[in-house]
C-alpha cells in the first residue's frame, strides 16, 4: 500500500480528492474552497495600512489560514515521507526546448536553475520569482479568486463569472508560456 502511495498519483485519483475538498469544507463548517484570500488575510493582519479593502475582521477567516498551514504541512509530509524513487517524467519536446535555455530536468519538481536562492539573484530568476509572484497575488485578488476559488469552487457551483475567470487564467497562461516566457528564459 505504502509503495503505491509513494508513486506519482494519477490524474483521476488526484482530481477526485481535490474535488472532494469542495463538499468537505462545506460540511465541516460552511466554508467555500479557496486559497488566494489568505494573501488578503495576511495583508489585513499585518499591513492593513488603513485601506478599506483590508479593514475587516480577518480573525473570522482564521480557518483559511489554518487550511493554508495544513497545505504547507502536507507538502512537507509528501516530500519527506511519501516521495518515490522515480524521477519526474517531463515531456521530451519540453525538455529539449528548455535545454536551449540551459534548463535541465533533473527529475525534481522545479528546475533549480530558476527556483533556488542562487537563481533569485539572476535576472530571469528574479523576474520569474518576484514579478511572477506579484502577478499571482495581484491577479487573483483582482479576479476575486484563484484556481481553487474560481476554477474548482466556482465552476462546481455553476457560476458563469467563474468560467470567465478560468478562461482568462488559461488565456494569460498560454500567452505567457508561449509568447513571453521564451524571452525571459533567454535572459
Amino acid at each position: 500500500m505504502i509503495e503505491l502511495i509513494k508513486q506519482p498519483w494519477p490524474w483521476y485519483v488526484s482530481g477526485f480528492i481535490i474535488g472532494l475538498m469542495v463538499p468537505a469544507l462545506l460540511i465541516l463548517g460552511n466554508k467555500s474552497f479557496g486559497i488566494s484570500a489568505n494573501l488578503r488575510h495576511i495583508c489585513a493582519a499585518c499591513f492593513p495600512s488603513n485601506l478599506s479593502f483590508f479593514k475587516y475582521n480577518w480573525k473570522k477567516e482564521m480557518w483559511n489560514l489554518f487550511f493554508a498551514a495544513g497545505i504547507i504541512a502536507g507538502g512537507f509530509i509528501a516530500a519527506r515521507f511519501l516521495a518515490g524513487a522515480d524521477a519526474l517524467k517531463v515531456d521530451p519536446s519540453l525538455l529539449s526546448e528548455l535545454k536551449t535555455y540551459n534548463i535541465t530536468g533533473t527529475g525534481k519538481l522545479l528546475p533549480a536553475e530558476l527556483f533556488s536562492w542562487p537563481a533569485l539573484f539572476t535576472i530571469r530568476g528574479f523576474i520569474l520569482l518576484i514579478a511572477g509572484g506579484f502577478f499571482v497575488g495581484f491577479g487573483t485578488r483582482y479576479a476575486g479568486g484563484c484556481t481553487s476559488g474560481h476554477a474548482i469552487m466556482g465552476l462546481s457551483n455553476l457560476q458563469w463569472p467563474s468560467l470567465v475567470a478560468t478562461i482568462s487564467f488559461m488565456t494569460g497562461g498560454f500567452i505567457m508560456a508561449n509568447l513571453i516566457l521564451p524571452y525571459i528564459l533567454s535572459l
Binding site: G75, G132, G137, F138, T140, Y142
Partner: protein
Amino acid sequence: MIMDTIKQKQRIVKQEHATQSDDFITDYEVRSLDTACINETELQHPWWYNFKYLIAGILFGIVLVKSEVVSWFRIQEMFRLQSFHMYGVIGTAVVTGIISIWLLKKFKVKTMHGETIHFTRKKFNKGQVIGGLVFGFGWAMTGACPGPLFAQLGAGITVIAVVIASAVAGTWVYGKLRDKLPH
C-alpha cells in the same frame, strides 16, 4: 464618518441577508469578490475547531505534491498542450465538485454542526478578465497558483517564501489601487 457608519450598517444587513438565501448578490464594497469572505458560519466555535481545516489542508497539500500539480514542468506542459495530466486533474476535480454540490443541494445536507449549507453567487466584474489574465501570466511564470505555492514551501523549496511574499505585496497593491481600477 457618517457615510462610513451607514455603509457599515448596510453591510451588516447584507451579511445577515447573505446567511439566509443563496440569491444574495455580493456586496461589492468590501467582503465581496472573495470566496472565503462570505460563506461563514453563524455559530461561535472555540478557535481550536479550526484544526479540522488544518487536517483538510494537510490532505490537500499531500495531493498537490503527489499529483505533481506543484511542478513547474507540469504547468509548462499544460500551457504548451504537451500533456493531458493537468487537464485531467482540474477536469476531474470540477466534475467531482459539480456532482458533490448537486448532491448536497438535492439532499439538503447540513454541516456537521447542523447548519444549512449556503452557496454564494459570484457576480461578474471586469476584474475576472483583467485580473484573470494577470494571474495567468503569474501562473505560467511561477508554475504555481496560491495553493501549490504553500505546498512547494512545505516541500522544502525555501525560496518560494520570496514568491509568497511577493504575492502578498501584489495583493496589497491591488487593495491600494482598487478604487482606480476598472471593475
